[in-house]
Symmetry: C2
Subunit: 359 residues, 2 copies
């Protein structure tokens, strides 16, 4: 380890937890709330603010909707028109972030124009760099939960992400965010496969909600040296028909379980990939449908550094040092020394379970 | 879900934690301790007993040894001579387990004869079925920690697994253990790729020590429908020169950290693969070198069911129901519905980190 890699890499990050967004809440009212959180962040000298999954609207996949209804929840993301950055419903957020010099990670329902004139919808996120004045990272959610066909029970809470979205087709693309670390080198000293220097601009990755339970996404970012992973979410606190929970369980127990599993996933995968993670809830009861809170910033040692205290709009900030990733990346999780890809074939050879033959 | 898959699949399992084994402790004394734990298990009607990694000796990779010294720690595993089952140093353990009708998982230093007359050494484990009267599962540790070249500092605690062993070459082979579940079907109803029935003999997998921090092994077993994973370990409680710990940290803090990471790994990966796990320590101070305890049996919901209270020989037992795996395997972690192997290429395409180019 050179002295250089031991230099501090301080970064002030925040999760901008959102309270509930009801169906009737206007787009303008949501934008105003998000901008208020950006202003709070600016007062605290925060450099990067992360918003939840599908941050601009209610979590609409819980409702069975007609096509024209769905459209009102989508953001047009047309590169020819400047992409999501210039999309009319959300442009004000990017403008404000840029004016404050704050980077943002934000989730949205992407309406992606296709060459044939149709649109494909993804559950997406972008990372917008205030220094670069552009989107420097884009991700489309790979692990869509839920179902295509709605539950028939009257009044059932739906989970129709598989109906409304296509699975992400961009893999897990890590990216660098410029202008955040004062002493970042402007070129890589580490060009050998498997080498790591940890001195450049921060390496980041994005996940969305259910992705955080799937080690494959985290590892894909780990293999690109990610130091900071963002994951916004809308996680149901209690809906027996969705998750197969026993009817014996109380709403309070179900919520405690959901929070436990959320934290276990974020802490475990941050530790096993030696990265920080910022995990951002949309929380509280949206039109009577409860969502967990549990917004957390996690250290590469797996410990929680900061956590939300409410189910409302709340800024959860932490001063972190990205150099804290080096111990894990260079010792216990020095991938090039310890991983054995030749033994991992099953992971890409099959999607589902194939049980061993009976004796 | 058929009624059949909801049938209970009860199993009484135990982790046989071992206290320290010092260099001077005789092979016979260790075998006697292991047999005493088997007798305790029998009194409690335990069906499967799991012992630690390298269970028969001190954790010798912490010492720099000459070839002839190493040999005294190895078990000859020659299929022509009946394999590890008949290896003279350890045969008494298998004999006793068979006489009690108890299955065992046990770790050992494998001395494997090669066609050229030489031997290869692996850090291995077997699962011995009392009903089948034979070894039905074998595993060789894939993720060897440590280094090839010893640390030079006088008195340094070594970690020479990479020097003494070859990495495992058997992948992560799940297997079925017969005779444990009364109503297990004798054939599989689930022959379609991706289908799961959960009615046959229990599906098991084996990991060893450091493997538990690597999601790839757990997932490989998950993709074979594993309901129960065993992982024995010798985990250093405090050795700054090994793990890069700051010299600021106290031995107590270092041990607490090691236990936290151990549990986080076992709980997180059990949850994410919807399987039980039995994680078995060799614990306490071996010739002055401290090992963590933290023997735990983990439920597929990620919760700890039973935990050791000492750093000595201790049987940690639990009555589990393998049917509890079904909820996770059929809902949140229904792999065939949610996984996207076409997005996971990096996991097998590279061993180490390749950072994204600087902007």
């Amino acid at each position: 380890m050179s002295d250089k890699t031991q230099a501090k890499r301080p970064l002030k990050v925040a999760a901008a937890q959102l309270g509930p967004i009801h169906i009737k809440d206007s787009r303008d009212s949501v934008l105003a709330r998000m901008i208020a959180l950006l202003n709070q962040a600016s007062e605290q000298a925060v450099q990067v603010v992360a918003f939840p999954e599908l941050a601009f609207t209610t979590f609409f996949p819980r409702h069975l909707l007609q096509d024209e209804e769905i459209d009102s929840y989508l953001e047009l993301d047309d590169e020819k028109l400047g992409g999501i950055r210039q999309s009319s419903n959300v442009k004000a957020l990017f403008d404000h972030a840029e004016s404050l010099g704050i980077d943002i990670y934000v989730g949205y329902a992407e309406k992606s124009p296709q060459p044939d004139g149709n649109f494909i919808h993804y559950n997406s996120s972008v990372y917008y760099s205030a220094a670069a004045k552009k989107v420097v990272g884009k991700y489309r959610k790979v692990h869509l939960p839920g179902v295509v066909e709605p539950f028939k029970e009257p009044g059932a809470t739906q989970q129709l992400e598989k109906r409304y979205f296509k699975p992400g087709n961009l893999g897990f693309p890590a990216f660098r965010a410029p202008g955040l670390i004062e002493n970042a080198t402007k070129f890589s000293d580490a060009v050998e496969k498997g080498s790591m220097d940890g001195t450049g601009d921060p390496i980041m990755g994005m996940l969305i909600c259910n992705d955080r339970r799937w080690a494959e996404g985290w590892r894909s970012y780990g293999l690109q040296g990610a130091e900071l992973v963002f994951c916004g979410y809308n996680t149901t606190a209690f809906a027996p028909q969705l998750w197969g929970a026993s009817t014996e369980i109380s709403p309070e127990e179900a919520e405690a379980d959901a929070v436990f599993h959320h934290k276990l996933s974020c802490q475990g995968n941050s530790y096993m990939n030696a990265c920080f993670s910022v995990n951002i809830a949309k929380a509280g009861s949206e039109d009577g449908h409860p969502l967990i809170a549990g917004t957390i910033i996690v250290h590469p040692n797996g410990r929680i550094l900061a956590e939300s205290k409410s189910k409302d709009d709340e800024l959860v900030a932490a001063e972190i040092d990205l150099a804290d990733c080096r111990r894990g990346k260079e010792k216990t999780f020095a991938f090039h020394k310890h991983r054995r890809p030749e033994q991992y074939g099953l992971i890409v050879e099959r999607a589902g379970v194939v049980e061993p033959g009976l004796l």
